[in-house]
Symmetry: C2
Subunit: 291 residues, 2 copies
């Protein structure tokens, strides 16, 4: 999985050792199912992802643990297991997004349903449910299963809201943000929060990291939509088109993106300084470029 | 949910008090999501199910506990939570089956994708994943999450195998049984096994109940296919058509169904006698009629 990432992933330069451990862990979880008809499709679907969500989880676990005695190494396995669960939830949502948006390309390759067909895309969701339940069983923490649950329901709810709103000519900026919060920010939030839980964070730290993830997720999605708004048929573009002063509107959204990005970094102030926290700040800055 | 069941469910006569507790518990889990766009669709999808799988789970928990001091009441909540998870896994597989088989009717009503559309069907899987993770978090037992995981992966694998084999003119009886074991027996097995675990069963009892569920699941599916073989485009029908002596073949499958049904009841001999065990025997007999 690594080599392809190296070619295109802007995170590789600074985070390559993290990314290879994340990839190794994901590969290990998938290898359990090497007997399955879904094995090759799932490797295909997860290949080439930037792994920003699992990276947030791992860095978050280290950040809250920077000044503590508690051996984070005791939880290392759980941390990478959880990072695989987060990446698989993302992978699953990408497969479904591409069907719904009728995208034929993803990461420069044919999208999943183009390569493996609709039936396989549909059934893969059920299989991934099985994999995530197995990871949950190994992590054995009701708190973490609850966070994964919340993210899964919110993400699908967001996708559904987007489908409904896409038909609505009265679409407002608030609606768009609400979709982004459900569809994207929920999984960023879960990643950061689960990291903080597994890093033995205090209640305040877990809450701060959850907020950080949530705000970063919103910034990330607005930025992504700003980059793509000329090309794709997204909710954001409808919003631009619906708006009479579209140039001003785009400028406003650029400000909004910066604003969420700064708010996200402010949340990190509630956590003690450390190298890992610096990494998270840097990661937030990278959304300015293109993550 | 109860009223409609009463009209059509052959299990109602003997098991109505169980069924209403199972339905109540399922309704309670779904009510958590009354805010969701998926709420009405999920109620629609789960309405009218016969609840044979959750019933097996509950009766299994009582059967292994019949002669024990341990208070099964301590686990009552978990037992009904798990029964909801099992029924939701089944509901999900039904939604996906109907898309793949292009079925327009289910339980006398328009099938899910006909009523709510393909996109909604696809996203519902992700939402159900969230619900099941939440139930897993509440039950808080890695063993049970592992059983749910195994069932989810096997069921989707079985469905995939069926798609592949349906194109294969060399389809054999063994292939058909293998699909049935994955697609149907895995969830019956999980139901019976999870029941036995939550009923404080001994290792031997858990194993016996797992086998019982597995064998009953095979019998149930063969019987279902025998009833339907003239009407539907199933793997079983391909097998009948591929066979030169199709009358003899159907007779052979009838014997096979009886054989699995008897084997299933034999497994129950390993469990102490009780009213609940009698119920499970009766449930097995009901597959002769039409469950």
């Amino acid at each position: 999985l690594n080599r392809r990432n190296a070619e295109t992933n802007p995170l590789t330069e600074q985070f390559s050792s993290y990314l290879s451990r994340i990839d190794d862990s994901l590969a290990r979880e998938l290898d359990i199912y090497s007997w399955s008809e879904f094995y090759a499709p799932l490797r295909y679907a997860s290949d080439g992802g930037k792994r920003i969500r699992p990276l947030i989880l791992v860095l978050s676990s280290e950040s809250v643990n920077a000044d503590k005695k508690e051996g984070i190494d005791d939880n290392k396995e759980e941390i990478f297991l959880a990072s695989s669960a987060i990446e698989l939830l993302h992978t699953e949502s990408v497969i479904h997004d591409d069907i719904i948006d009728e995208e034929n390309l993803r990461r420069g390759k044919p999208s999943f349903h183009v390569k493996y067909g609709y039936n396989s895309s549909i059934l893969t969701a059920d299989f991934v449910l099985g994999i995530i339940l197995n990871i949950g069983s190994k992590i054995d923490s009701p708190k973490i299963s609850a966070e994964l649950s919340k993210a899964a329901t919110k993400m699908s709810e967001g996708e559904m809201m987007e489908i409904m709103l896409a038909k609505d000519p009265r679409l407002k900026e608030d609606d768009y943000i609400k979709v982004v919060e459900h569809k994207t920010a929920s999984l960023f939030e879960a990643a950061a929060k689960i990291g903080a839980i597994l890093g033995f964070g205090l209640e305040d730290e877990i809450r701060a990291m959850g907020s950080f993830g949530h705000l970063l997720g919103i910034a990330y999605q607005i930025h992504d939509d700003l980059l793509d708004w000329n090309n794709e048929d997204r909710l954001f573009n409808m919003l631009v088109k619906n708006n009479e002063q579209s140039v001003e509107f785009v400028a406003k959204m650029e400000k909004l993106f910066l604003c969420y990005s700064i708010k996200a970094k402010n949340e990190l102030r509630k956590i003690a300084d450390s190298v890992s926290k610096k990494h998270l700040e840097h990661l937030t800055d990278l959304t300015y470029i293109q993550v």
